[in-house]
Amino acid sequence: MHFRYQSGQQSAEVTLERSGDGFRALVNGVAYAVEVLDRQPGVLSLRFDGRPLTFYWAQDGSRKWISQGGCTYWLDPPAQRASQRGSEGDGNTAVRAPMPAQVLAVQVASGDPVERGQVLLLLEAMKMEIQVKSPAAGRVNRLLAAVGQTVDRDQLLVEIGE
């Protein structure tokens, strides 16, 4: 059984073979003896090369979250990292939401000239209000946010062009 994972820049390959009561695992070519101690929905306890370890995991779409010993990891299927940030090389400067939020106010209109540092929008989340400022002087080429709209973190709000 072969599995491939990607996490940020790193990728890895895992092979599992049944071996006695457990498994022989190959991770990037290195072999480990693994036994499943316990298996419950979302929890997995292993004896990994003799060490007992408990993992909590959850699936969110194609992403796997795993927690062990106070550290959290996420694993994606390989080659899934189609650059979410898209094409920013078109001369426009993208202004994105720094947090998931509701749009409280939009203080520019499409076509407006803007200065560097000028407040473009007000966002609010969890009783906290923040100003989204223009990172550059230019013109509002696209305005993709409206008052009352809910936006995700990193969602494109405004494109500033020349």
Binding site: M1, F23, M126, K127
Partner: protein, 494 residues
């Protein structure tokens, strides 16, 4: 004692109050917004009433809707928790006028402490130290005259509000007028009240607060301090008691000041007197009084052995406190860590998402207060507080060790949170030495990034095994203890 209490809140504090009611044999009524229709506090309550849409202003902040819910369910008293309507004197008055009991202080006490400017005046009169400063500064000339009498740096604060809004630090007299104008605009915008207070700014200040408890029969005690200097954006992250800073003499002095402050406004029920302490000189100054239960009340409960929520309810029902100041003492040390849905590597900005997996720590000396379980959603509508982990130990190092172990056991998948950041603070030598102050996190953890955990082989193997289908039952028949044979039940933390 009340037969039925309405809990006008949500999240962990609503769960906490519902538990206290259950232990006291009181029926607990929850209220909820549309976004909280399936929330834990609703699932745990004996009854639950919808009070409006997700926006707090139309649900949890609506005096009318909350009172309607109380009337509809026949609740005799309302516990406001913290936040929302808890420090709203009009609400407290409306509760009384509806013939119900407000579980908290009188509207008059709330009002007396609600305005920072007026509270400052009252505290001075009561002999409680306030930071050198002035208020009622309407024109630039008066401002400059006042500033000249205080040594730099200066702090400009909004008289009406809190939470850092309308606050400015002035290091040079030349910045004064412009800073004041900006602060006034911000205060006017946020509180509809542009009045300002000018105070000496205390660098390396510690935030140390005293819990007070008062019945309706004139008994008023303090339950010692909480050290709350680990803050980001004026919000507490880690609280503990006893404070590693206070000497016995200073503790006694501040405790007396807290009692005097509360007594001067005829305070009843639970409240907290917050002080700013100059860590160089040991001078302390009244900051404000929170006329309600505090988020961090569990560390006091651990060390003083008093159930604050149960006593809030008993005091509201007219019971006298059975103890005096001399009967109270602290035992051991307790720490609280706030698990926030936020990204410490992104200026601590809020994060939202599903709690795919939420496993809580257990074991002796560990307490978890949470308003959520796995499967719940954290939305943009309310507070980022997911849960509070508290740990008690025989002394401060033991409490820190236990808290560290508890945080390592806490599992929170599906959402960005500050769990790793909290672990880093707990292991910081300056924190361990007790030498922190309110701007310490900002200065010391500026640019913080989560430690690179890498991709250890065991995690990759676990991921593969997690997605592996169990073999047929027959395959493991030789092993009566095979985990693949286990029935598929519910399971709890270790």
């Amino acid at each position: 004692m009340f037969k039925k209490v309405l809990v006008a809140n949500r999240g962990e504090i609503a769960v906490r109050i519902i538990r206290a009611c259950r232990e006291m044999g009181i029926t607990a009524v929850a209220v909820y917004s549309d976004a909280d229709r399936r929330a834990l506090h609703v699932r745990l309550a004996d009854e639950a009433v919808n009070i409006g849409p997700a926006q707090a202003s139309e649900s949890y902040l609506s005096v009318e809707r909350v009172l309607q819910a109380a009337a509809a369910t026949g609740a005799e008293a309302i516990h406001p928790g913290y936040g929302f309507l808890s420090e709203n004197a009009d609400f407290a008055r409306a509760v009384q006028q509806a013939g119900l009991v407000f579980i908290g202080p009188t509207p008059e006490a709330i009002e007396a402490m609600g305005d920072k400017g007026r509270a400052r005046t009252r505290m001075e009169a009561a002999g409680v130290p306030v930071a050198p400063g002035y208020q009622g500064l309407d024109d630039p000339a008066a401002l400059e005259a006042a500033a000249a009498k205080i040594s730099l740096p200066l702090l400009i604060k909004a008289a009406a509000g809190g939470g850092g809004k309308g606050m400015r630090v002035v290091h040079q007299l030349s910045e004064l007028v412009e800073a004041a104008a900006a602060a006034r605009r911000e205060a006017q915008h946020a509180f509809g009240d542009g009045r300002l207070i000018l105070e000496r700014y205390i660098p390396h200040a510690r935030h140390i607060e005293f819990q007070v408890l008062a019945d309706q029969h004139g008994n008023l005690v303090h339950l010692f301090e909480r050290e709350c200097s680990v803050q980001r954006r004026h919000q507490k992250i880690i609280e503990e008691t006893p404070s590693p800073y206070l000497t016995e003499a200073l503790r006694a002095k501040m405790g007396e000041a807290a009692v005097a402050a509360a007594r001067s406004v005829g305070y009843t029920n639970a409240g907290t007197v917050e002080f700013i302490v100059d860590s160089q000189s040991g001078d302390f100054y009244f900051l404000e009084m929170n006329t309600r239960l505090q988020v961090e009340h569990p560390v006091t409960e651990w060390t003083v052995g008093i159930d604050l929520v149960q006593w809030q309810i008993r005091i509201a029902a007219g019971e006298p406190l059975p103890f005096k100041q001399d009967n109270l003492s602290q035992r051991g040390h307790a720490i609280e860590c706030r698990l926030y849905a936020e990204d410490p590597a992104n200026n601590f900005l809020p994060a939202t998402g599903p709690l795919l997996t939420f496993a809580v720590p257990s074991g002796p000396g560990v307490r978890m207060d949470s308003g959520f379980t796995s499967g719940d959603q954290i939305t943009i509508h309310y507070d980022p507080l997911i849960a509070k982990v508290t740990a008690w130990g025989e002394n401060r190092p033991a409490a820190i060790q236990r808290m560290t172990a508890a945080l390592r056991e806490t599992v929170l998948l599906g959402i960005t949170h500050n769990g790793q950041f909290l672990q880093d603070v707990l292991s910081d030598p300056q924190f361990i030495a007790g030498g922190v102050y309110t701007t310490w996190v900002e200065e010391h953890f500026n640019g913080w990034q989560p430690p690179q955990c890498g991709l250890p082989p065991e995690v990759l193997v676990a991921a593969a095994l997690a997605q592996l289908q169990p073999p047929s039952a027959a395959a493991d028949e030789h092993d009566p203890y095979s985990p693949w044979r286990m029935p598929n039940g519910y399971r709890v933390g270790q």
